[in-house]
Symmetry: C2
Subunit: 394 residues, 2 copies
């Protein structure tokens, strides 16, 4: 029986390689800085229980029946309210509910990208986005990042000479880079998208997990302000602020792409779980989300602070990193040549794992980099993890 | 901003045309035989409530956290038990949980079909399968059906001369045709798949909704018996026997395709809602499914009987149909030239709608056909619907 070319392509997805690499990370005693999963101790059990009680008492038929491909109107209206707090003004009709950000990206790649279309990503960029773009046979190019996020001057040099179809970016508290696009660069990027007519896919799963008192206005909002909202597609999710297991995310889609996205959503899985949508709606309606976000911010900020201090004191001579202003990830780079994939064998033997940085590049990987997630590790284990990393340098 | 070829393709999906056509069907007083949705009055509210209580008391962290792309091991084990009752012997590792049959088909199309690959479907066939196969740019061919399902002799003549990659079939209580593949044809089809090395995609959402005391052994089981289980991919769902809103289906995948399917599932949406999976597992574990299926069978059988009797007495001179032995759909054909899409305007004016048959063909549609669903309509309305159809002939 023969496979097709996509099957051949996905057979060796890098995520599988990582899974293979990290399969020992759940062994007793191993501290994992590898995963990207939220801390389940922070799930709002009481709030989710109350919301589910409401679903089962007042909305149970809808929760168990087929629904609209674009998502339930009441949830979409609640998402519009949430977006207003992020400075994004939109209408219920602009919102399409998806089964999480991964599906948002897969649908967008299928809706936008023809084989050979040029798509620009950050160096480094989100691994799973690379995968769906590769499945769509995009011609991937990358633009460097620094402490202020994607270097837009470098992007400008590229788009001046190259017909770019889309730019994929996690501008706020990025994964894996942990950096945030500075305000002047946000304006510059939006302006470029209009001048050179490319689409910006703004992926914003972490924007609410803000450790500072600054506001980071989404690209979608800047675009609306300058009158070219049509060039920015915004995607976000409840996975990092409520619970990933329910699989509820959403897209804010410009009118020119709306029907195609809804039809693809229908062809993909008809619609997102009505049960999950109803639960999410009733949770939002309870008014508990703001408190839940505050709780997550505080807890993750503390953990991030602990990891940063520990890295600075124990490994400051070896590693350089930008201290995250929010989100779930810290990205570091050795100050000297290093292969972090090779090094992982040594650190695993010493009882600590991370994700080697090379997996987050579409080309020419920087082998001296690594991604660490701090959110699901205790303070004590964060400190111990760094000591074990240090011991692995000998 | 430019769309890509897929976007252009999905812009005018036939399902959208049908939605447009049937958008008036929810008007007051209109009786709809159009939809394919289960009867929500039969949902096991008590059983679902009990199962959800168990999820929230004993499994809540798992239910709200990320899970495996292939699905939760406990649910997959429970599905293996369910499959054993359908004469399918399989291992937990053979099962991949999906977000419903639609996603199963989309993933299979992406995993199996290269543009131009020849795929055979029934005449008529399931509309949404046509869509995903068209999105994958399959070269679609169709084989006729009669009261015993797909005419396998016709398929044999085709595969003798043509390199067929896959056959997509709903062999038991089919949608839209309402017919069931006879046992000798099942054996013949499985034997052909081995001799001519094509894949059978066996779509079995309705197999449990059996109005008879006969057993209809799945193709997957016949294939295992004759030692070529590798050629049959089996897909089924809880949508029609438990509740569609939770979006839980599954695939039984041969070893040669397993890794690709799991990787595609991961790229598509990471995994199916943990909440829905946990709910489904606890429901199965409660032992209530058998009683629930018996309830659905009895209710749908009665409704089917009512519609058949009414059609025979009121429209017997106009329509020919095969009485379904199970499932949710009755397929009928006018005994004389007729355009059921045109006729729908007239029946709508008289307060009754159905789905015109032409949408269920990949080519050369039979315009004299129509699909009627009886499961969500009261007895009284089934009778009234037929009278209104009759009145629309004048």
């Amino acid at each position: 029986m023969s496979q097709n070319k996509i099957a051949k392509k996905v057979q060796n997805l890098q995520s599988s390689a990582i899974r293979e690499l990290l399969k020992h990370s759940k062994m007793d005693g191993v501290i994992s800085l590898g995963g990207g999963i939220p801390n389940p101790d922070l799930f709002d059990r009481e709030g989710l229980q109350i919301a589910m009680d409401q679903v089962l008492s007042s909305a149970w038929k809808e929760a168990f029946q087929y629904g609209l491909s674009e998502g339930s109107p009441e949830l979409r209206a609640a998402i519009c309210q949430l977006l207003a707090e992020r400075a994004i003004v939109c209408d219920v009709d602009d919102v399409v509910v998806t089964s999480g950000s991964q599906q948002s990206l897969d649908i967008l790649a299928r809706a936008l990208i023809d084989p050979g279309d040029i798509v620009v990503v950050e160096r480094p960029t989100y691994l799973a986005a690379l995968q769906v773009l590769q499945l769509a046979e995009a011609d991937l190019r990358s633009v460097g990042t620094d402490g202020d996020g994607m270097i837009i001057d470098e992007l400008e040099a590229l788009v001046k000479t190259t017909p770019v179809k889309a730019v994929y970016i996690v501008p706020t508290f990025g994964n894996p880079g942990g950096v945030t696009l500075a305000e002047h660069r946000r304006k510059q990027l939006v302006e470029l998208s209009q001048r050179y007519d490319f689409v910006i896919i703004e992926d914003d799963p972490y924007g609410e997990i803000n450790f500072t008192d600054k506001t980071f206005t989404p690209l979608k909002a800047w675009a609306a302000e300058s009158g070219n909202s049509d060039n920015v597609i915004y995607t976000s999710t409840f996975s990092k602020i409520l619970a990933p297991g329910a699989r509820v995310g959403w897209l804010v889609v410009p009118g020119w792409l709306k029907r195609q996205v809804v039809n693809l959503k229908q062809a993909t899985d008809l619609h997102t779980s009505s049960l999950s949508q109803s639960l999410t709606y009733h949770y939002l309606n309870s008014g508990r989300l703001a408190g839940q976000i505050a709780l997550i911010r505080e807890a993750y900020k503390h953990k991030c602070q602990t990891l940063c201090e520990q890295l600075e004191s124990a490994l400051g001579d070896h590693l350089t990193f930008h201290k995250p202003m929010g989100g779930m990830f810290l990205w570091a780079r050795f100050n000297y040549p290093m292969d972090t994939t090779q090094w992982l064998k040594k650190t695993l033997a010493n009882g600590v794992v991370y994700v080697p940085g090379e997996f987050f590049y579409c080309n020419d990987p920087d082998h001296a980099t690594l991604r660490m997630s701090y959110v699901s590790v205790t303070d004590e284990n964060l400190k111990e993890a760094v000591l074990r990393l240090k011991a692995s340098l000998n």
